[in-house]
């Protein structure tokens, strides 16, 4: 009897420790995903902050291109109001599209293209876009690993009851514009 009792006690301890291990693993992964998400947000914010400067510089040379300025302003406010990764991704894609058009317009203004300030803003902008692309890839990779882990044994037994849900990829919903690659500056 005593033997049985201690066996049960050891089994319970083992299960508890194993459970804690699984739980801690999920917490680590989940935190990793959240950290990567905040990296993306930092970069999105950084780009949104660059936009007013860029718009102001372009306006100095091409004040009448109102349509694209409005488009940019709208995309920016959408980005500020986005709550989920896919909303953010959609707003980000819209902003990318509008910025692409802004840069295309600037091609028609040689003086603007030669403006030192404009060139450096463009560097910052494409650098930030590249960082967003990198952060997105890292984030999606972590989400993929996390989503797989909560579906794999033994974590799948405890993930649901403990509130570890599937996480969203940073991707615009299908059909809302392909994600743009960072434009590179030509001389």
């Amino acid at each position: 009897m005593k033997g049985n009792f201690s066996t049960v006690a050891v089994a319970a301890a083992v299960l508890a420790i194993a459970g804690c291990n699984v739980y801690n693993g999920l917490v680590n992964r989940s935190e990793g995903v959240d950290a990567a998400w905040s990296d993306i947000n930092t970069m999105l914010q950084r780009r949104a902050d660059l936009v007013p400067n860029l718009v102001a510089t372009v306006k100095g040379y091409a004040a009448h291109e109102n349509e694209v300025f409005t488009e940019i302003a709208e995309a920016r406010s959408k980005l500020a109001g986005a709550k989920t990764p896919s909303e953010s991704a959609a707003a980000d894609a819209a902003l990318s599209g509008a910025l692409g058009r802004l840069l295309a317009i600037s091609e028609a203004y040689p003086e603007l293209k030669a403006n030192e300030n404009f060139l450096r803003l463009q560097d910052e902008l494409s650098g930030t876009e590249n960082r967003i692309a990198v952060a997105r890839k890292d984030y999606n990779g972590l989400v993929k690993a996390y989503n797989a882990s909560i579906r794999r044994l033994p974590a799948s037994l405890v993930a649901g009851p403990l509130g570890f849900d599937k996480k969203d990829y940073f991707e615009p919903p299908a059909g809302e514009g392909a994600v743009q690659t960072a434009p590179s500056v030509s001389f």
Binding site: G3, S6, T7, V10, A11, V14, I17, A18, N21, V22, N24, G25, N28, R29, G32, A35, D39, L119, R120, L121, Q122, D123, E124, S126, G127, T128, N130, R131, I132, A133, V134, A135, K137, D138, G141, L142, K144, A145, S149, P154, A155, T181, A182, S184, V185, S186, F187
Partner: protein
């Protein structure tokens, strides 16, 4: 007789505890394997092909980058197509060594290919930078200049620790100021110039700030030792309870991907300086996509 009985019961119990401990050991190891894959995922770096493969590919393509990141060479100049002559290469290597000396350990690499085979220059540069891990671990003071001579593309990839000293606009300035030399096909001079300018930009700031460092995974550390320990204890007890009959069996299950993974905690915190005790590539610096690209 009762004594005998008690003995066998004790031995049976010992056997059961041994098995349980082994189960615990296996669980903990499984867990640390999970943590391992997680760490791998966090440090997404594309796998580099084996040296022989890369050498063969380079010989075939005459210095084209086709997606397989070649090994970083001592001196941090990677030029599989021998686009630089011996003198230019030596001068560049010296410039890079001077940069390392004057920035207190920063590492800058220069990679020259003929073409990137359609791979975007940002992707190619990041893949190389993350594979080679230029810069010291924790300080992340690394940079990489990538030139594709036929594609006429160039990128300066800046490590996380140097993003303060070399923001993208400064990286863009550097690219713009070397582009006349690139246009003229003076690859060696252009690369030396870039290394000098990176050094000047970095020295303009007091010292590279030690940023965050790798994510803290200290609480996953006990998993492996605990797992190993209980596994061994479990084996020992199980073994002794079975009268010393050896029944060692390697666990064939689990993730195929973790088969060759080194145990957690086996990574050196920081790699020693190159040229000493074998060359192991960069020092563990991280890259987040900062820098600037251009066409010439």
């Amino acid at each position: 007789m009762p004594e005998d009985n008690a003995k066998s019961r004790a031995s049976r119990r010992q056997g059961a505890i041994g098995k349980l401990l082994m189960a615990l050991g296996a669980g903990a190891i499984l867990q640390s394997c999970h943590t391992q894959t997680q760490n791998d995922a966090a440090n997404i770096a594309p796998s580099s092909a084996s040296g022989a493969q890369v050498a063969a590919a380079a010989a075939q393509n005459g210095g084209a980058f086709t997606g397989a990141v070649p090994e970083l060479e001592p001196g941090f100049v990677v030029d599989p197509g021998k686009i630089l002559d011996e003198a230019a290469r030596t001068a560049l290597t010296n410039e890079i060594a001077a940069l390392e000396a004057t920035t207190g350990g920063g590492q800058m690499g220069v990679a020259i290919f003929t073409t990137l085979s359609g791979i975007p220059v940002e992707d190619a540069a990041l893949r190389m930078a993350r594979t080679w891990k230029l810069g010291r671990s924790g300080a992340d003071d690394g940079a990489l200049l990538l030139v594709a001579t036929q594609d006429r593309e160039v990128r300066l990839e800046v490590g996380l620790g140097w993003e303060g000293a070399i923001p993208d606009s400064v990286a863009g300035d550097i690219i713009r100021s070397i582009s006349p030399e690139l246009k003229a096909g003076k690859w060696g001079e252009a690369a030396q110039d870039a290394v000098r300018r990176v050094g000047a930009a970095v020295r303009g700031e007091p010292a590279p700030r030690r940023k965050g460092g790798p994510p803290d995974d200290s609480d996953s550390f006990p998993a492996m030792p605990l797992g190993m320990f209980s596994l061994f204890v479990g084996f020992a007890m199980w073994d002794s309870s079975r009268g010393g009959k050896r029944k060692l069996r390697r666990d064939g299950g689990g993730d195929a991907g973790t088969a060759g993974a080194p145990p957690i905690g086996a990574f050196p915190p920081s790699r020693p300086h190159h040229f000493r005790g074998g060359f192991h590539g960069g020092g563990g610096g991280r890259f987040g996509g900062g820098g600037a690209s251009g066409r010439f």
